[in-house]
Symmetry: D2
Subunit: 294 residues, 4 copies
């Protein structure tokens, strides 16, 4: 591991894939072997009106451009009798959906991860480090089910997870995905007005602990990996910001707002994790349906 | 197999998952075992301006709501120095992206797959058979690389693939995914104005051959599984329409407009196939990044 | 005036323009003559993040597809040196903008205004009574500045304006536009969280009083012409619903959410009113910038 | 008139309204007096699928979020019996609709009209010279009906209108709007595939002739005021570009893609012109329905 403040370049000049480079064929085959029961669990929250959502973020909008009601009202079938439904989706992934961040999503100074100029992220999309660089993430996951470990429904809003809490549950290694449950999405179901802020999250020390272990990705059920204060903001100093530690300095992809309430902690706590964001040219993120294959 | 015209109900009353019910845990584990090299290949075309596209369909629109250029022009960082890029996507999946159809996408008469009333697909989305019923598709794929088998760049536009052509390449069994390459997306790269129509595709007989074998899904690189005539329409009679045979009558999920040009035919022609559409409540489809894990 | 429950047909069979038929050339010329000073006042609230807005309605979204920041960050000019900014707007007019309702916007039973079948309003837009039927509204306005008349900042939320209150300020005649100020948008500026509901509005009796006088349109600065209760709903019985009385039964166009705080009551209380909604084929409404020409 | 290359500042420091400053109350009253018959003519093309449109520009998209077909299919009315239709519009005005350009739309170098820094036009919208600065345009129009004058259906695609052609029809004065008909939209109706390019338009000399006369706005039925070549581009040198001459150097607002085919040339060739773009904060343009009041 290269020391902070950044370890740009460890995957070679002009690298745009960050820790996805760790997903060697050998590790992929090993990851496939972690599945024991063949059960598939979706880790995505629904995209729609009743889904966890940060304040001030534009809600996804879903429109039908033709539907069954139209035919009920007299629309003629196509050709010899075909009827169809078609639709459109408007989505801003960050803060509104289960999504994966691109490496271009956050930075400080004038450079993205690995020294790419931030000015190459402009109105036509990100010319560097876009979500279209990801392809697919197939890896062994380690499940940090913190509420179950602590026998609570969810972590309290002010909680910042320490490295010791992670280490107590399990070690994790290069190319693994840390799937971290805070349980916070339950608050959405119980009292949606309390969901957005404050929120629990990782401490900077926990972020560094994960980075030192060369994880391929961190997937969390809160909205920002780190915690949010009463105003909905991360309030660590810049050197301790979780996105900067993980995404910007180490090229570690982040998945946020997962739905982990239907994932019963498997034994021995590992499973196969697959996520394949949309190949959106120059995108800063993609809504995604991560799968746990137990 | 229940005989046509439909085999509604074979997975039980009110079933909304169709052939995904075939993805038993045992089959999932067997599918994982088909991966031999651990190589991951994305089967998605880019979402953007230069992607295969049917005429008259609304192109995906991608907007940055904040980007690196803004900071270059003087926008102040957030808090102690965070800079970020954020975006929005507007997408109508059918005809414009690599996507997966929901079982509510097409029907004839007044009933969707399995007898659900088509009137339940209305402006608020599909209350039955939406894409949010899919979760994840993890299955053994059989690769029908027709152009390679015939030593051509791509099938001719008027070609309708016969069952014999499929059988000559490989048998396929219950719960498998048929990944069928026509090579047609190459036309987009060479002469985009010729891409949309006409297009090659499956014959009705080939559709029935696949349905009889209880495949879990059919994934094709053309736009409509069946072929398209000069006007961009399927022109089989209703009883032979590919969407009606597969999606409507048998509940077989369809994936269309895959990018298969980077997939070198593996030996022995099988691989692990994973697709996880967005959990869009009541959606008729989802753009998707299917993965081949070789 | 035809008696309620509806006076369909008074402008002839299949009429889609309702009271706009009252805007005869003679009345238009008379309306132009009401302008005395030549001062132009925009009656539109801004379209953007800080604009009056009902809860649960999708906020307008505005995206730049190219802008000055891009050029600051190095984007090359077009051709010999042109630089440009371009943008896109996503808008749901009702409840989020100063807008004009189409006659297809609201009804009871199975028929729109003038007996057009409601089933002709489907996913492809309204085939009857769409906002594209309006063209332009050029009329004499009578200004009912209720807060000024009562020496208050704004009407209280529970207030329902009675006909006597209108009559006390001014009579109004055929083809005129009633511009009615409640002052409620000031609440947005003072305490936005209180804006959406409850809201003051017209009583059913006031609606009937206006309909009896054959006004061409009613333009109000609240969100629903009638008042809203704590839950943001109109709660009159169907026969007293303001939209049904005015729009549905009498074909009187409605303009809502005007910004009237910059309009100083002119003397003698009349002015030229111009509104020209977008010619959106089959639209249920259009955001609009109404003009007062004093 | 200040000499070119720009006359920034003639309306005072930091001016964002350009020639709209010429719309003095006296001129507004004089403009109102030009109406003789009271006939209202909409000068807007429809917003929808069958409207004149430049290639490569995103078509407007219109979605119903609830409609009459839904009720036909069983959706329950709201409250005691209200039924309603609601919709959403996605629109990029330039090149797809009858629209009005903001003064921030085009420039060369680093400064907008009147010296405002172009970097203030960023992803959050234009902080200077946005379309929200316009309010309303109420002015005397002079109608240059070139095809009628020349007894042709429309100008040929390669035609560049000279000042002499305008002068021959009518003089024009300070604060007037030049409404210029090329007839080109007829091509859309006859052969839509020929509409986009090439197109006829003004010559640079005609642009200067109008600027010297201090017009308030130029409203044309072609797509770019100037002509377009075979590739759909303006191909004058920068000093002769029509947008730069009019919008950038003189602050003259432009309206494009008007529908003038229903406007019979009035005698004596003048009428009242009203246009009120949406008050879109920081917008680069607005779709608009200009009105001619004859």
């Amino acid at each position: 591991m290269v020391a902070e403040p950044n370890n740009w370049g460890r995957f070679g000049p002009a690298d745009q894939r960050g820790t996805l480079n760790l997903l060697t064929p050998g590790r992929v085959l090993a990851a496939l072997a972690t599945a024991r029961t063949g059960e598939i669990v979706s880790l995505a929250a629904p995209i729609g009106r009743n889904a966890p959502h940060l304040r001030g973020r534009p809600s996804p909008q879903h429109f039908m451009s033709i539907d069954g009601a139209d035919f009920a009202a007299g629309t003629r079938p196509v050709g010899a009798g075909l009827r169809m439904a078609d639709d459109a989706l408007i989505v801003s992934a960050h803060g509104t959906t289960t999504h994966m961040d691109a490496l271009c999503h956050m930075w400080s100074g004038d450079e993205l991860y690995n020294g790419h100029p931030a000015s190459e992220v402009h109105s036509y999309g990100a010319k560097r480090c876009g979500i279209d660089q990801v392809g697919g993430l197939v890896a062994r996951a380690v499940f940090y089910d913190l509420p179950s470990h602590r026998h609570v429904d969810h972590l309290p809003a002010g909680h910042r997870v320490l490295p010791e809490e992670l280490a107590e549950i399990s070690e994790i290694g290069p190319g693994d995905v840390a799937v971290i449950r805070t349980g916070w999405p339950r608050v959405w179901q119980e009292a949606p007005e309390r969901y957005a802020a404050p929120q629990p999250g990782l401490s900077a020390a926990a972020g560094r602990w994960l980075a030192e272990r060369d994880v391929a990705a961190v997937a969390c059920d809160n909205a920002a990996i780190g915690g949010l204060n009463e105003r909905g903001l991360a309030d660590e100093p810049v050197e301790d910001d979780l996105h900067l530690i993980l995404l910007h300095r180490h090229g570690i992809h982040l998945l946020e707002m997962l739905w982990l309430e239907d994932l019963v902690a498997p034994s021995p706590g590992e499973f196969l994790f697959v996520a394949a964001p949309l190949r959106l040219s120059g995108g800063t993120a993609s809504p995604v349906t991560p799968l746990a294959i137990l």
